[in-house]
Symmetry: C2
Subunit: 183 residues, 2 copies
């Protein structure tokens, strides 16, 4: 029960921050969207908004980690896994209403305590790239190529999501594997 309201706050906050950034969302809006009382917020996050933002980003990070593993786990090749990843994320983007950005950058670049927030952001991004690189190696890529391919996937996805958001079109994300793997 306690755990549920904590997760619900983090999840709701992540979704709202993804739309309007850290400064664009107030605590009262998060509480009302999560249908929880004010006491619940300070019970779980004594420091208030900045605490909640860090947890919301961590929540989004765990979600992304799971999606990356799901995409590559049973893939027959690295390219097939990357394609599945783009398709899964395109679907998520559409489900969220085509108006969201990367939760990590939208929460952690613009929050307070800039240095702590930014470092956390860099850690999450690095962790995704390591995770993708290790799938690449498992799927036969060399130790030299794997981190390069992982960075390619990462930057293409970050930029592709931004373009998809501007155009309100999930197919921009679906098309990224063609963009990457066909010259």
């Amino acid at each position: 029960m306690e755990q549920n309201s904590r997760d619900k706050l983090a999840w709701t906050a992540a979704r709202l921050f993804q739309r309007r950034g850290y400064h664009g969302v107030g605590l009262s809006e998060i509480l009302s969207a999560a249908k929880l009382p004010k006491g619940s917020l300070y019970h779980h996050f004594p420091k208030g908004k900045s605490d909640l933002a860090l947890e919301a980003a961590a929540f989004a990070h765990r979600e992304m980690t799971r999606i990356i593993d799901d995409a590559f786990q049973n893939a027959e090749s690295f390219e097939a896994g990357a394609k599945t990843l783009f398709f899964k994320l395109a679907k998520l983007f559409e489900m969220m209403g085509k108006d969201t950005g990367c939760p990590i950058s939208l929460i952690l670049f613009n929050g307070p305590e800039e240095d702590i927030f930014r470092k956390r952001c860099a850690e999450f991004f690095t962790s995704w790239m390591h995770q993708i690189a290790s799938h690449a190696k498992r799927l036969g890529k060399s130790s030299e190529d794997a981190p390069i391919l992982a960075q390619k996937i990462f930057v293409t996805l970050q930029g592709g999501w931004t373009l998809a958001r501007a155009n309100q079109d999930g197919n921009v994300i679906r098309g990224l594997s063609t963009l990457l793997f066909k010259e």
Copy 2:
């Protein structure tokens, strides 16, 4: 004189929005950074913050357009032009303090009047890609490949800038041409 204070407001606003997004910057902060009185703001931008934001984004758009042309104008190949573009933008990123994001997305995704702002954002992005594609054609790429290459440059740059910001490292942007043009 009049023109100068208008440009100064737009330039200052763009730089501040690039750091903390539309909602993270107040009008008083912009005025104080631009060293201009409040009257100047409402003289040039009667609707206040949203007007100023649109002009700040347009200002950043013109800046980007100029940088793209400068990079490709005298390039011996499309790849060389792209490399110059990445190097110029890495330098800009470093000059701005390594803590800025794309001014267009940071102003136009999170501003008010979401639909107008988002459409403007899509127009600017499309215009950059057309501009890069036309340089690609001029430099010998086929009409089929040119728009694909332009989209590649665009998404790689958007995503690469985000990674550079997280890592506070302009070399991430300099490295993008290697990431793109070496398999």
